[in-house]
Amino acid sequence: MKIQLVEITGFRNFASAVVNLADKTLVIGANDVGKTNFLHAIRMLLDRSLSDEDIEPSESDFHIALDGKQVAAIKILIKLTEIAEDAVISRLKGHISADGESFICYTAELAKPGYKIFIGHSSEALEEIDGRFYLKHIHFKYVESCRDITAYIQKEKKYLLKTAKSKRSAAQETADATSETTLQKTLNIVNDGVNKLSYVAGATKGINHELQELSHHNTDYSVCLEAQTINFSSFVDRLRLGANSGGKRVGLGGDGRNNQILVGLWMAKAALEHDLENEAVIYCIEEPEAHLHPHQQRKLADYLVNSIEGQVLVSTHSPQIASEFNPAGIVRFYENDGNTVAAGDGCSEDLEDTWDDFGYRMSVLPAEAFFADVVFLVEGPSEVLLYTTMSEELGIDLNYYNISILSVEGIDFDVYVQILSKLEIPYVLRTDNDVFKVPKTKPQEWRFAGLNRALEVAGGKAYVNSTAIDSPAKLSAEWKDTSAIVNPKGIFVSKVDLENDVAAVCKDQLLKFSGEATIPDAVQYLQNRKAIRMRKFLKENPGMLAALKGDDIAAPLHSAVKLARRRRPAPKAEEPNGE
């Protein structure tokens, strides 16, 4: 069983949101956008650890729009699919469709106290029920982001022991019973021994003397220090979680390690507690990255994605966690006029195939883009270096605007464009004006690969192959026409390519830097060991790029800032730019 769809109306940040979920769903979004509220909406219907009182709506649960108007009603609808667990089928009876779907709904009205729960085999067949009876065999395991490992372990310890006991074989039970008897005897010896230590026995001599002096009533009365009589079961009760490292006992280490222990404990408990084959279990963990080293974050995410059977919902702020998730499973929340919505209505199956082709290329860097407000897509690391430096020299704070410059390591922009479009993350793009030979043509044909690439992303009409034009330099008319079409959409094409475009405006610096006599040779020099020489070139010429502010090279950067300003105003320190 899994949650396929959540529709939220009028609840907290959500005026109206449709959120599709995937097998492994990652929930991202800015702070306070409502990630926890979204998960809470699901929990109200599915998490038994929230009591009937807990899910009573309070006034503040009713959404208030930017104009201050509060909604009259809350509605949360969950669509469950792939219900195949015997226990759930038995429990939900006619509320499961032939296709294994079921709908559960929560409603509340501002004007009336209380709430209503509905269930049905289709959204039309919803009928009111008295309580969340369906939860008997549906388990929504939730771990919040602010978690207290010590308290949790203290609470769960007894349970862990009890379950482990119940799973012993008869032989183990007998062996344990024998050991328990022996251990109790040993404990008795310890108790006796401690009591007999001379300073333990003698410690209270003085007190007893004074007692005698104080009152005759105390004649038969004495006090003594004694070892806390420890019997075996209280000994077990006092067990604490310890740790071993390389065979040595060590103290439980750091919040990060504890966080991993917690997740391990949590999963182990779910496996002990539930009949995973016949009951439905959905795991939900908020910000699992808390206190973890980036490397461990990735490992934890890999565990959540690949080792857990069943649906997993994770909320995160970490690119390390995100890099392990299929972008098709990412739900990105953003605020839109006081209403939180899920980009592209949440997870989309369409993206899944795209991702499968692309998966090997995913790393932390592109994952970072999921958290950006605007992404600037470029072909390679030289562009990243150039534009990062340029933004500094132009006084544009990329961090403030949350703009990510991302290299696609080639020219496959379309996959990134698809993912970013789906996540509704605005982007700008810059690509080279490539002109390629078309193989096996006579007379030789040339393809305007760069222009067509840009036109394709922008939805424009591509150029047919040409026999006349064989280099970007001869394309200035076409370049101008194309730019007019694609620039308004945030798509930019080099006049030739990055190095040539730079050379055109920084001629002297480049000739000097390369030690070459001609520009083509200098460009060749820069291109030979791309990013390394680009880095050196930029370093040796500080302030050079500030002069390019009005040049075509800087246009994508201005375009990115313009997009970012829709989300946040210009910082006071920065002068208005590119308006």
Partner: protein
Amino acid sequence: MSELQPTREQQPAIDYDGSMVAIAKPGSGKTFVLSRKIQRILPSFPSYKGVIAISFTNKASDELRHRAASKGIDLKASFFGTIDRFCIGEIVIPFLTHVWGKPTAEIEITRIRDLPEEDRTPFEILDNAELTLEILADLTGDLKEHFLQGRLFLDTVGTLALFTIINSPACQRYLKTRYSHVIIDEYQDSGLAQHELFMKLHGLGLVAIAVGDADQSIYGFSNKDSKYLLSLAGNANFKAFPITLNHRCHPSIVNYSLRFLNANAVLLNTDQIRVYYKSCVGNVGAIAQWIDAVLPQFMDEFQIEHPKDVGILVRGNMTGVLVNNALAVKHRIAQPHPLEENTSLWGPIFCDLLRYRLNPQNTVQEILDHHNFRLATTELAEVRKQIKEVRDCLNDKLFDLMESIATIFRPNANKQGPVAQLRASSIEDLTRSFAPPKNDEVQIMTIHKSKGLEFDLVFHLDLHEWVLPSKQPGENNDFDHPIYKDIAQDRNLHYVGITRARKLCVLCTSTRRTNPKNQDKVGKPSEFFAENHLEQLRIVSPI
């Protein structure tokens, strides 16, 4: 009996894992076998799985559930109840919506005849025919329309359940997932719908267990037929287990009953004959006087503790009334109250409420189990409260309270009939009909009503020619060529009557009898006395 070990005959039936049909003779420990079987199946089940156990009456179901749950057995997700309850609660209400859509009003159970007359026309075909899937196909439009308006007719639920299973894959999956076995008791009284449902569940992969005895089929008048039981006995997919050994009756009583059914029956060894023949001079009043006279002696001789353990069984109500008037010893006639025969929806609710009031053993939960399908929590709390009041309320409040409860359960059922019957009864009448018998009262009842019961001593009356077996003169009052009404059913009736007796069975007849027109007639002994040399297996009452 539950403390007993199974016999060599019972054990294989308990242990067999597959689909089966158990042909259980009276007193052979049928409920014992079923409860043991259920107890054997359930322990390995997870909490969400169970068996379907269908009994003929709510009372029999309560008994089976109680016995199965003894020894702390967890019944898990099992269903115990009547076939109607199963069809409504497990199939039609939850899944017919998948096929026909969601009703606009809360589903309510009624009967076709509760409809206004003009709406009944499409269903007239059912006056003379059992509802089959073919007939249902013709009525689908009407039934669906009623269903979508929230009306579900009790008369149709069996066939509708069948229809629902066939048309709803979700329903099939649910039944397969939740239930492992279907057990139907009293299969000889199965109707077509129940039989097809049973076979359907078997087809879905459930282990199907039928229990019955064709010789005890006495409900032929309501479209029930033992042929379905016999068809299972001849079906290779169902292993047959005869459970014949009668543990209830004295061997001589067993012998008499077996020889009565079969001239070649193998008899048990016994050195004593405890089937008596008594013919009294006079009419039924003379029999009553004779019973008054001999009862102390019989009770003493056969160590019968309470008069309650003595049953006077009659064929018809009229004889019961005559005995009731004539008998001196303290007695109680289990006179079927009109409400008990009322097939409206309120009738059974009233009966259960009266039993609850008069029998401290009965519980509120039983009533809810029998009648509640889908009350919301608030209504449920209210109805619980009201039912509790039924037990101790003043007489003059009782009827209003009962009507209020019935209204909660079945708000729109036709209520005039049952209400009139209730209000026409005195509290004394109702007590006589619904209170459990007291220890010091001999019980008078019809044989039909005695089914499932047992007595130490049975006086079997109405053994007159023309009465049992029942017959009428042929055409033009031709007494030489009389016509038997239903000799097979009557034979079963006599068989059931005999086998109610544990220690002594006294077959009574008399020289005069009173006919239904209240005329005094010459009484001749029943033809049954003369069959299969039965006289060898009975003795004339020594007193």
